[in-house]
Amino acid sequence: MSLFLIAALPFIGAVFPALLIRAGRNAASFSAGLTTLLAFVGLMINAPAVLRGETIHARLDWLPGLGLNANFFLDGLGLLFATLILGIGLLIILYARFYLSREDPMGQFYSYLLLFQGAMVGIVLSDNILLLLVFWELTSLSSFLLIGYWKHLPEGRQGARMALAVTGSGGLAMIGGMLILGNIVGSYDLTVILQNKELIQASPLYLPALILILLGCFTKSAQFPFHFWLPHAMAAPTPVSAYLHSATMVKAGLFLMARMWPVLSGTPEWFYIVATTGLVTMVVGAVIALFKDDLKALLAFSTVSHLGLITMLLGFGTKVAAVAAVFHIINHATFKAALFMSAGIVDHEAHTRDIKRLGGLRHLMPITFTIALIASLSMAGIPPLNGFLSKEMMLEAAFHTTWAGSHWVIPGLAVLAALFSAAYSFRFIVHVFLGPKRHDYPTHPHDPGAGMWIGPALLVVLVVMIGLFSSPVAGPMVSTAAQAVIGGELPYFKLKLWHGLTPALYMSIGAVAGGAILLMLHARLEAIWNALPRPEAKTIFDAIIGAATRLANSVTDALHNGSMTRYGAIFVVFVAALSSYAYATGTLGDPTRAVQAAGPLHLVAWACLVAATLGILALHHQRILALVLIGVVGLVVSLGFNYLSAPDLALTQISVEVVTIILMLLALNFMPKETPRESSGGRKLRDAVIAIVGGTGVGALIYALMTRDFLFPTISEFHLANSYKGGGGTNVVNVILVDFRGFDTFGEIIVLGIAAIVIYALTETILNSRVRARLLNRQPDMPQAGDAHPLMMVVATRVMMPIALMVGAYIFFRGHNLPGGGFIAGLVAAIALIMQYMASGFAWATERQRFYYHGIIGAGVLVAAATGIGAWFNDKPFLTSAFGYVHPPYLNEFELATAALFDLGVFLAVVGAVLLALESLARFAWQPGMSTEHAMDINPARDDAPETVNIENVKEV
């Protein structure tokens, strides 16, 4: 079967349980089992070839640019691990079917489990280290889901997060390491990397790469000091612990060390980092395991210890040690998975896994007892079980290894670890199964159904078989796998029980005997142990994460405290600093234009401008006054435009001023008349300095620009030359607006339209909220004019209206050739209409208004767009203008230009936008009883009394 299919099957299979769970739990577990079985069979089909020494490849380009390709290969090491993953996976699926209760969402469980399985298979089959990284992180993620599977348990959630944080960080470090490695070799393909030992070890980047990759391996394989996550991951359901945290995932780190062994090992750095870490882990894990009362915690620390053992063996860097490591991987997987499952059975049946509450179970659970007995004896290293064989090999290897010149460190500590290992193994049996039967179990324990014990029983059979007939049963697998690890000739080794009276045998005997003694002293030792202060990893981890979260929170909040003043200050300072830097690092040419002398008129205008600006600064808290001063600034600017021969700009500016001031006055009506609390003196000073720096900078920039000519001919020369010829108008400003750069104008009228629509939408939203009640009951904070619609004003505005509209039309039509145009005309027309609202009242004006302003805006944009599209029918680009001259009878010749149609769109959009904004703002002021059918309050011809002033009315209503 293709390797792609083997790797993909678990992922495909992950879909089914989640869906099929609706068809029942059997369907879900069956589908999971079937896909795993298929993958297992597929693997077995390939096995003979691999055992013959072949390597099977499957390659598919994924992202060749990066060197990330879906390349898989299957060699001895991969075969060994894939067999473990899929084989034990099958047993776990069976076991979990009976372990999980009715309340547990089993579909999810199997889906997560198969996701994990797929990721693991992917790791061991990858022939590309980037692909391997993908699967590596996937195992972290899927194990996160599995550990947190019982989401109602806080231990599960915290354990999941801890596992993810630790293994995830290792994975990230490994990304760095793998990228370095790939850079050294020039390829991310494992088969290539594995042939470049000299290149890699000679590189100055060897050490960083090694450390980063090892960080990934150590975190994943729970090596000291990263071991603490593993015991907390035991909050997961037992099938998960058995599968992930003993048989497979924690071995991923070992796998990778074994995989990289040919190119990374053999250096002192490798030896001291890997072997030392392994040694320490082995001892620490074994010691702690002895004092754990929780069955799963005991097994977890024992797993840590055994992983340390294997790491140490790999770290030795000798070929024999590597063989021993491979062999122990197999043995540990078999007995430890069986032990976890037995612990799960005990927990499942007795409803506790506290050793202190157990004991005497051998009478009640004989089958479980047998399984657990054999498995723990193997773990203790008792012949003739498989654990004994590999432990012997370990001790043998340890005996021949010196550490920093000392012959005693490694063998001594190895014996110590073996001793504790024997002790906790014995404890697992003695304190749980032996002893008298108790009467205070939480429930009445008994052996479970066959579904639960068949899995561990099969594993135990393997334990015995490998022990008794090591060479025929495990020999071929060990040889092929070891060959793949070593990447060369195998050393001489023999898998057998009796090697003669070797030092390892004496060490082994000493360890077992010592272990037995330790167990007898257990109660006393435990008292000492409990009295010792020892760091609790979870507390430390929680404290770190908690502190980090709080720190992150306060940093973020302090940085983003919502103060607009501060954001603005940072903005100005940053912009000013970078601009000054840019200026300082460039060279400035000499000014090319002379500065003109200022006449009295200029000085007066300048003084007005400065005075008004200073006035705003001083009086800004009185909003209405500030508004008036802003009007002054606008007027001076308009005058400036006019003086500098830009009448279009002046006209636009002045009409914009009028409209904005009116709209802002309307808005001010609903705001407090004074600005709120201000910053303190120091901050004010700071802001003043920043503002002055910013302002001066802009002033200096503009001065520099104005005293220099363009360095290149400008595009406006073309505009001047082509305005009449190509655009049909002599007012080049207008031709630029509607023709040369009509597209900009098109965008800008849309901006204006959107602004009005946003004001409208905002008004609607606010008036539909409970703010409306406040508005309706609003009392004016200033005395109101007794005469809301003064006669003089009403009459004047009504008389003005046709005139103003006529002026607007005039400005519109002359626009193409003389100052004017749709934009200004629109503003003038809008002002004419606004005057009606102001003088005669909102209700009066609205009644007489037959076109919705929405429609006018829309029409404006559509007319402009349609004009632009019209050019398409002429096979010209969007907004291409056309013009011609007509000479109707009795009239003078005049020009017709499509640009005028476009300008009409501009006109409509402006009128609509301004009036929609006005109308929206005015609606805030609406109060019941306000509307009057008489626009002029004081009308002598009227019968009813004129005292319908709004406030009194409100109260009555």
Binding site: D61, W62, L63, G65, L66, L68, Q108, F135, E137, L141, K151, G156, R161, L172, A173, I175, G176, L179, A548, N553, T556, D557, H560, G562, F571, S579, A582, T585, L701, A704, L705, F710, T714, I715, H719, D739, R741, F743, G747, I750, V751, I754, I757, V758, A761, E764, T765, H854, I857, G858, A859, G860, V861, L862, I869, P877, F878, L879, T880, S881
Partner: protein
């Protein structure tokens, strides 16, 4: 001649006023037209991408005035890709907004959305610097309208900050354009490029000021530290489907940097030497760091995702700031990913928000929690850059592209460490939101008291969301999956795009209608 290039601007510009004029009171019709229009945009931009994928540059002279005197739209691989990405994202967002009923919580949602699209698409397609300003204005004002859609005091307050900060940016944009025009006398980007290259060496100071100010404008839009302050509050308080659409807005800034600082002020231009990468790279790394710290510290799901998207902008800008073709290719790839991933997570956050409010605290389990938790998981994986989704590939690409940089170790360290912080942050938030709520302690808890500030908001919906919302999210996730699976072809496109960016002669010649030398 073909007018297809201008249709992505003209179509929404016609549709939006039509909706305002004729369909103002008919939400159903608005929805139909808005969805249909967006589908049409997808088709149009897809066709444009196909046209551009052969490497040709197409120029459209608006008003039939040749560049540099008139405004031109320019279609090349990059602009076509960005336009396609925008319309795909918009389709997801509009479907979600319709499905979730967000579009009925205020007026003119669909019209504003179409205007917003017009602004974004115009910004991607234009070849004229001032026209870019105009489209920035269009998208700014439309986005403000969308941001405050639905109202509520918190949202309105955040909206004011958003619009004020961005108006500061617009002002700076005008200063920058004024300066550049005063030196070069032109506004067309290709023409600026030609003239900048010919700039006398003794007169560079003013141009440098203009160039750096322009860069700062784009940095504001892209939310690069320390100019990102507008983003967190406004994205977190905007209607989250709108925030999902805004995922493309930061990319407008990133796109503009990529475009202008390879075309006109590129790394080889002597006049603007040393202005861009030197500070942009550290700033981008800082952005990434602050973003990930914000993810870890977030107490509210909107802010969580907002900071997540800031972090992804940091990664993106890191890649852009390297200014090499490889890094630019990586950034093009990552840009697609980052847009989709942020959008997905914003939409998922909205599902959560609608059911149980935004605070990241344990509460009663919400309806559809399993499905939403899975979607959150997928989105978080994507945004944090974990495998198997494209974020991981993108991150690898960025890191790989950085290997020749002087700062390679800092870049790698910041990317990896902030990934870790992000992962821890998302895991924390997810486990509180979706797992801890199943704790027996919270199962019978009463509804939390609504926030005083939010009293004007409509009450949370309890009915399961319409399928359309999930269709939208799954559709976007599908996009990510495709981007991952077909990362090879996608990178081929990105590499071709980047190569063209760093050799802009074809672009300049086509725009200015010069015969190739």
């Amino acid at each position: 001649m073909s007018h297809l290039i201008v249709t992505p601007v003209v179509l929404p510009a016609l549709l939006a006023p039509f909706i305002i004029m004729a369909l103002r009171h008919h939400l159903d019709l608005q929805r139909i037209f808005s969805i249909a229009g967006t589908v049409a945009l997808v088709a149009i931009t897809l066709a444009l991408t196909v046209q551009a994928s052969d490497g040709s540059v197409q120029v459209y002279d608006l008003g039939d005035w040749p560049a540099p005197f008139g405004i031109v739209l320019v279609l090349d691989r990059l602009s076509a890709l960005m336009a396609l990405l925008t319309s795909l994202l918009a389709l997801g967002v509009v479907l979600y907004a319709v499905g979730s009923g967000w579009d009925e919580r205020g007026r003119h949602f669909h019209a504003l959305l179409q205007f917003q699209l017009m602004g974004i698409l115009g910004a991607f397609l234009t070849g004229d610097a001032f026209n870019l300003f105009v489209f920035f204005e269009v998208l700014l004002i439309a986005s403000y309208g969308l941001m405050i859609h639905g109202g509520g005091p918190k949202r309105l307050r955040a909206g004011v900050q958003y619009v004020v900060y961005n108006l500061l940016g617009s002002t700076l944009f005008l200063f920058a354009l004024g300066t550049i025009y005063a030196v070069t006398g032109t506004l067309n980007m290709a023409d600026i490029a030609v003239r900048v290259a010919e700039l006398p060496a003794e007169d560079t100071a003013l141009l440098r000021v203009g160039a750096v100010m322009l860069l700062l404008v784009f940095a504001i839009k892209a939310a690069v530290l320390p100019l990102h302050f507008w983003l967190p509050a406004s994205y977190a308080n905007a209607p989250l489907p709108v925030a999902a659409l805004f995922a493309i807005m930061t990319k407008v800034g990133a796109y503009a940097i990529l475009r202008v600082y390879t075309l006109a002020f590129g790394p080889d231009v002597s006049a603007t030497q040393g202005l861009v990468g030197d500070w942009l790279l550290p700033a981008a790394l800082l952005t990434l760091a602050v973003g990930s710290i914000g993810v870890l510290g977030a107490r509210e799901i909107g802010r969580l995702v907002a900071f997540g998207s800031i972090a992804s902008v940091g990664t993106l800008l890191t890649s852009i700031a390297l200014f090499t073709p490889e890094a630019a290719a990586a950034s093009v790839y990552y840009m697609i990913h980052s847009t989709l991933a942020s959008a997905i997570l914003f939409l998922v956050a909205d599902l959560v928000m609608e059911r149980r409010g935004g605070a990241i605290i344990a509460q009663r389990p919400m309806p559809q929690t399993g499905l939403i938790a899975s979607l959150f998981f997928v989105g978080a994986i994507a945004l944090a850059g974990m495998p198997p989704l494209s974020g991981f590939v993108g991150k690898l690409l960025v890191m790989d592209a950085a290997r020749d940089s002087d700062l390679v170790w800092s870049i790698w360290a910041v990317i990896l460490i902030s990934s870790l912080i992000t992962i821890v942050g998302f895991a924390r938030a997810g486990s509180i939101l979706f797992w801890e709520s199943h704790d027996a302690a919270h199962a019978r808890e009463a509804e939390p008291e609504p926030d005083e500030e939010d009293e004007d908001l409509p009450p949370p919906v309890s009915a399961p969301a319409s399928n359309l919302t999930f269709v939208a999210i799954f559709g976007l996730i599908g996009g990510l999956v495709l981007l991952t699976v077909f990362s090879g072809p996608a990178m081929n496109y990105a590499t071709a795009t980047a190569d063209a960016l760093f050799d802009p002669t074809a672009y300049i010649d086509t725009v200015l209608k010069r015969s190739p030398q």
